[in-house]
């Protein structure tokens, strides 16, 4: 056996950190090699010296003094909300994994909640008003196409939000807040416009009518409800739509 390799392993041998088989191999080498044996004896003595340091260096008076300072601090210790929440999730101190499972569930539920919230706020499927009667331009491009209007002053596709459409399909009635959008290009005197009708009981007969005109920057981002004098309500009432 190579002496250099043995000397590299001897620190572990001296501390009893080798397997029985490794110890046997090293032991056999030491019986034959005086140089390695001397090296080992130095290490063995060093181990004894290190072990002798294990003797306590702490007096009972020092411990008593430490305790005297500790106990009032323990009694005054206030657990923060994070620790209290952790303990609540943990439940059983023998099963710390429960805390991780609980935390994971909380994270998933929160993520789902916020995703839902984001979906609602980022892409609302109901009317979003500013200051009571000012409607924000809806993001209708991925909504359900109800059909094409080709009568009266309008011509173009009519869109409705998927949730309102599903509600109508189930119960035959549009829910409060429903927005229908008409993408109109036919009214030549107005140019391209977007018109919307919103089901909202605040308005006369439960429906409010809006028009988003084309501006130099594109379609207006918001618009106020049209007055009854615009004739929208009367026309819709006459046509029964």
């Amino acid at each position: 056996m190579n002496c250099n390799r043995v000397k590299e392993t001897l620190p572990l041998y001296a501390g009893g950190d080798l397997s029985a088989a490794e110890e046997d191999r090293i032991g056999m080498h030491l019986r034959q090699c005086g140089d390695c044996r001397k090296f080992y004896e130095g290490l063995a003595k060093q181990q004894s010296l290190l072990r002798s340091m294990r003797q306590t260096t702490v007096t009972p008076a020092a411990l008593a003094s430490m305790r005297q300072g500790l106990l009032p601090r323990l009694e005054a210790e206030q657990l923060g909300w994070r620790v209290r929440l952790e303990r609540l999730l943990m439940g059983e101190p023998r099963r710390p994994r429960m805390a991780f499972a609980g935390a994971a569930i909380a994270v998933i539920v929160s993520a789902m909640f916020f995703a839902q919230l984001w979906q609602v706020t980022a892409n609302p499927t109901v009317a979003v008003f500013e200051g009571g009667d000012t409607l924000r331009l809806p993001d209708y491009r991925e909504w359900v196409v109800l059909g094409t209007a080709s009568t009266g002053p309008h011509s173009g596709n009519i869109y409705v939000s998927p949730s309102a459409y599903q509600e109508y399909a189930r119960h035959g009635k549009f829910p409060e807040g429903t927005v229908m959008v008409l993408e109109s290009k036919a009214a030549s005197d107005l140019g391209t416009t977007l018109e919307a009708s919103v089901k909202d009981r605040r308005f006369n007969e439960g429906w409010g009518y809006f028009r988003f005109d084309m501006t130099a920057e594109g379609l207006a981002k918001k618009t106020r409800v049209l007055p009854e004098s615009a004739g929208c309500l009367a026309c819709h009432r006459d046509r029964g739509i």
Partner: protein, 198 residues
């Protein structure tokens, strides 16, 4: 040694479990019992890792405050001591960082020597032995931090390699290498001082 059946728990473990549950239920007195059981071990290690007794006392208080706060994280199926030792090592590291000095003061200063003199008789008493021990202490203080921690925990504190790995948050293989290198460096330092090149 009589082995306990697998579904049974050692009496001392049971006692700790009772104390932990009582503490978590709000019984501060139960935690005092835990302090009494482990204070010497915690303060001895703090004393070895830090500069002076005052700092060691402060560190010990901090260890038990952290243990009290995070007691619910303790896995009662495993021994308590390595968990406390791990907190001790972390607290002492924080203390060292805060003071922004590297205190390699494993060397027993005069106050410690006096304490040692009043404690149990040293089986290795003798002037030459004491001198060697002092030299070894100095050499230990000069080891790289990780090797020093590993050697103190394994050789001075007497923890097993797996326990040292758990305390230091390392793998057993890494700790074995650190211990091996640390012991070799110590030997080289001791040999250099005595002029022995074997």
């Amino acid at each position: 040694m009589t082995r306990l059946p697998e579904n049974e728990t050692a009496p001392e473990t049971l006692e700790i479990e009772v104390l932990v549950r009582k503490t978590l239920a709000g019984d501060c007195r139960a935690f005092e019992q835990i302090v009494l059981q482990y204070e010497r071990r915690v303060m001895t290690l703090s004393r070895r890792l830090l500069r002076g007794m005052d700092e060691a006392q402060d560190a010990t208080q901090e260890v038990f405050l952290r243990a009290f706060k995070y007691l619910h994280r303790l896995d009662l199926r495993r021994p308590v001591e390595p968990w406390l030792m791990r907190i001790t090592v972390n607290v002492c590291r924080d203390f060292q960082r805060k003071s922004q000095r590297r205190h390699r003061t494993f060397i027993e200063d005069s106050s410690t020597q006096n304490e040692a003199a009043t404690s149990a008789p040293d089986p290795y008493s003798g002037f030459a032995w004491e001198q060697e021990r002092q030299r070894l202490s100095k050499a230990l203080n000069e080891l790289p931090e990780k090797e020093r921690m590993a050697v103190i925990l394994r050789d001075v504190e007497g923890f097993s390699t797996s326990e040292v790995a758990e305390i230091l948050g390392s793998s057993e293989g890494t700790v074995r290498s650190q211990i091996c290198r640390g012991r070799l460096r110590l030997k080289e330092a001791m040999d250099a001082k005595t002029g022995d090149q074997s």
